[in-house]
Amino acid sequence: MKSDFSEEKKIVCRCEDLTAAEIIKKIKEGYHTFDELKRVIRCGAGMCQGRTCRDLIMKLLAQHLNRRIEDLPHPTIRPPIKPIPLKSFQ
């Protein structure tokens, strides 16, 4: 029964359209921090700047590395927290 519900249809990062399966695969390949994952598959780098998926990604990391979230390296967050359309600067 369980296999009817696939990991492929569980979305973790809505903005960049990344599934739990894709993120778990990268963790297993050795990308063990939020920043590394973000660099390789852009999870958390979308229009919401990771606000929706950051907690879930940290949780997946903790689960798969068997560690507590507080013991994992913190994500790095840079301004702006929302992408600003270029024309707004004119």
Partner: protein
């Protein structure tokens, strides 16, 4: 334009902080990204829990209007529909307002950005019709849009329970509420109310899948074992066109990460938040936090924290005084009192862990 005090977020915490700043003659600017001030309060239609002298018995949106009126009478400069997108060295607030980017310089800043709703991993969790419980609340309580015919609520904290009741009031059927833990998270009174109205609260249950091609047409729920794994064979398909996630809030602390405040992960307070002390000071001098961004709690404590943060900011700007510190001590004592009850055990534990980290 330069201000002495910049406040990001116009919910109960930010509004209260602005009023205190103004009372001490501080040139204050209050910035919020919504069209009107009020934060979460504008969608709360139920009578508030909390202590007597703290607006208990008022409905949330009424408390919002009271504070809004006071702000309108004050000298506080208010900018709505403006998002603060960055805080830069020298406390320059970068803000995006009416499709323009502008900068506002401040001498001290209070971040009172509130919280964001947590998302949950399950099959088809991104299908239209899977909404945050707060989103549904905004849609139906602020704009009067009928959210859906039949809803499944996920999560039995106070928010899940209260929004379920509000859905029922708006004419939406809510046949089921599922809770993965073996016990209901929120208050018994709220749970009893929705149970009387016909909602079945299923503890040790979770959602497995949202069904539908283009939008939600149903859901599969199942029982979980004590490891929280679904028990195979216990799956039930239910007919719903709306799935509400009330699986918790986490502090909206992006600006604080970005400034370089020391961040701590405290699950009892909702996740990552900026370290702060009882005076709401962060590790960056002149930068303060208040309300849900300083730990998920409630509107009463948010307002008191707003006052405490503002007093810290005023002492930073004008220099400390006995009057200010006496006033602040008094409010901190009030907060302690509020948090001494059974209902606040988790928050108190979280705050102790936070304060204990030097």
């Amino acid at each position: 334009m330069r201000y002495q005090l910049g406040i990001v977020g116009g919910g109960p915490a930010g509004m209260m902080a602005a009023l205190i700043g103004d009372r001490f003659g501080i040139k204050t600017i209050l910035i919020d990204d919504n069209p009107a001030l009020g934060g979460q309060l504008i969608k709360q239609t139920h009578k508030f829990f909390g202590s007597k002298d703290h607006y208990c018995g008022y409905r949330g949106f009424q408390i919002g209007s009271i504070l809004r009126e006071e702000i309108a009478k004050s000298k506080v400069e208010v900018i709505t529909s403006a998002t603060v997108t960055g805080i830069y060295p020298g406390f320059i607030l970068g803000l995006h307002h009416k499709e323009r980017y502008q900068e506002v310089g401040c001498d001290a800043v209070i971040v009172a950005t509130g919280a964001k709703e947590k998302f949950l991993i399950f099959e088809n969790n991104d299908l239209p019709g899977v909404y945050g419980a707060g989103a549904v609340q905004t849609l139906m309580n602020v704009y009067g849009v009928f959210p859906g015919r039949r809803a499944l609520m996920i999560g039995s904290g106070n928010i899940g329970l209260i929004v379920t009741y509000q859905l029922l009031q708006a004419g939406v059927e809510v046949p089921f509420l599922v809770e993965i833990l073996p016990e209901i998270g929120g208050w018994f009174v709220h749970a009893a109310k929705i149970a009387r109205a016909g909602t079945r609260i299923l503890t040790s249950h979770t959602i497995i899948s949202a069904l539908g091609e283009e939008e939600v047409e149903g859901a599969v729920i199942a029982k979980v074992d004590d490891q929280f794994h679904p028990v195979s064979g216990s799956e039930v398909t239910i007919d719903v066109d709306l799935i509400c996630l009330a699986v918790g809030l986490s502090p909206l602390s992006d600006l604080l990460w970005q400034v370089g405040c020391r961040m701590e992960f405290i699950p009892e307070l909702g996740g990552y938040l900026a370290w702060h002390n009882e005076r709401m000071e962060t590790t960056v001098p002149g930068l303060y936090v208040a309300g849900d961004v300083a730990g998920i709690e409630e509107a009463t404590t948010a307002m008191l924290e707003g006052k405490v943060a503002a007093i810290s900011a005023v002492s930073h700007l004008l220099g400390p005084s006995d009057e200010l510190s006496a006033m602040q001590r008094e409010i901190i004592r009030e907060l302690d009192d509020l948090r001494s009850g059974d209902f606040s055990q988790v928050v108190s534990r979280g705050l102790r862990r936070l304060y204990d980290r030097p």
